[in-house]
Symmetry: C2
Subunit: 204 residues, 2 copies
C-alpha cells in the first residue's frame, strides 16, 4: 500500500501530463513531439509508451479531466434548475460551453475529437464515448427534473429528447472548434435558436 513503486508511478503520470499539457498549449498537438514531452517530464520515450498507448491517449487524459469538471459543474443546475425550460437548458449548455476552453485550446479539442472517431476502441476513444454518454445523461436528468417540477410535459420521451439536445449541441460545438474565429456568444445564440423549437414543443 502506497509503496515506493506506486508513488513513483503516480508521480510520473503527473509529470507526463503536466509536460504534455504545457507543450500542447505552446506548440499545438502536432508540434509537441513525444521526445520533447519525455525530456520535459524527465522520463524516457519508452516510459511514456508504458503509461499511455499512444500520443492521443495523453491528450485524452487531459480532456477527461476537463469534461469531468464540466459534468460536476452541471450537477448544480440539474439540482436547482431555473424556473423556465428555455433558461434551464441554456444555463446547463452554457456551463458546458463556457468551461470548454478553460484548459483545452480549440486545436486540442479538434485533435481529441478526431482521435476519438479515428480510434474508437483505444482507451481514450472509449473514454470519450463514455463522457459523451454522461453529458447526454445529464441533460436527460435535467429534463426529468423539469418534468417533476411540472415545467415539461410528462408524456415527452425524455431519453430521446436528451439525445436530440446533446447531439445538436455537440455537433454545433464541433463546428465551433473547427473555426478559429467562431465566438462563444454566437454559438450559444445559435443553439438557443435551435432549442427554441423544442422548448415550444415540450413546455407545459
Amino acid at each position: 500500500m502506497s509503496g515506493l513503486r506506486a508513488r513513483q508511478k503516480a508521480d510520473r503520470h503527473r509529470r507526463i501530463i503536466e509536460a504534455a499539457a504545457a507543450l500542447f498549449r505552446e506548440a499545438g498537438y502536432e508540434g509537441a513531439k513525444i521526445e520533447a514531452i519525455a525530456a520535459q517530464a524527465e522520463v524516457s520515450i519508452g516510459t511514456i509508451y508504458n503509461y499511455y498507448e499512444n500520443k492521443g491517449d495523453i491528450l485524452g487524459a487531459i480532456v477527461s479531466l476537463e469534461v469531468n469538471e464540466v459534468l460536476n459543474a452541471g450537477r448544480g443546475v440539474v439540482a436547482r434548475p431555473p424556473a423556465n425550460v428555455g433558461d434551464a437548458l441554456d444555463t446547463l449548455i452554457g456551463i458546458y460551453i463556457e468551461h470548454s476552453l478553460h484548459y483545452l485550446s480549440k486545436e486540442m479539442w479538434r485533435q481529441a475529437m478526431a482521435i476519438s472517431t479515428q480510434l474508437p476502441d483505444s482507451p481514450f476513444g472509449q473514454a470519450y464515448t463514455a463522457l459523451d454518454r454522461s453529458l447526454t445523461e445529464q441533460i436527460r436528468a435535467l429534463i426529468t427534473r423539469l418534468q417533476e417540477i411540472g415545467l415539461v410535459r410528462r408524456d415527452i420521451d425524455g431519453a430521446a429528447l436528451g439525445e436530440l439536445i446533446f447531439n445538436n449541441m455537440n455537433m454545433m460545438f464541433i463546428e465551433f472548434v473547427k473555426r478559429d474565429q467562431a465566438k462563444i456568444p454566437e454559438l450559444r445564440a445559435a443553439i438557443r435558436r435551435q432549442n427554441r423549437i423544442l422548448v415550444a414543443a415540450i413546455a407545459v
Copy 2:
C-alpha cells in the same frame, strides 16, 4: 485546350483515385501505404503529393464522390415528398444512411470524419464542411416544401429546424460508424424516435 498535359493530368488523377479506393477497401486506410498506391497507380510518390496535399485528401476525393451521389438521390424526395411529415423525414434520412456504406467502409468514414475535424482548413476539410452544409440545406428545403404543401406549420423556423435534424442525424451516424457491430435498421429506428418529438411539434 485538352492538350496532352491536361489529358495526362486527368488520367493520373483517375488512376490515383482508383488505386487508392481499391487499396483502402482491401487494406483499410492505415493499411494502404502511399508507396503501394503510387505503385498501383503507376506514378511516383512525389507525383501523388503533387496532386494531393496529403493522404487524407485522397480519401477526401472519394468521400466527396459518395456524398454528392447521396445529395443527388435526395433531390427526388424533396421534389415529391411522402404526404406525412414523419415519413418524409424518414425517407430522406433513409436515403442518406442506406447510400452511405455503398463505396465507403465504416473505417473509411471514421478516417474521413477524423481528418475533417483535425484539418478543417485542408482542401478536404473545407470540402467536407461544405458537404455537411449542403445536406443541412437539403433537409431545410424539404421542410420548406412541406410547409408549402401545408404539412408543416408556417411559423416554424425552417433553418434552425434543418440544422437540428441534420446535426442529430449526423451525430448518430458518427456513433454508428464508430461501432462496427452497429446496424442500419437500429440507427434509423433511433433517429425516428428522436424525430418523433419534433414531428409532433411541427406538424399542422
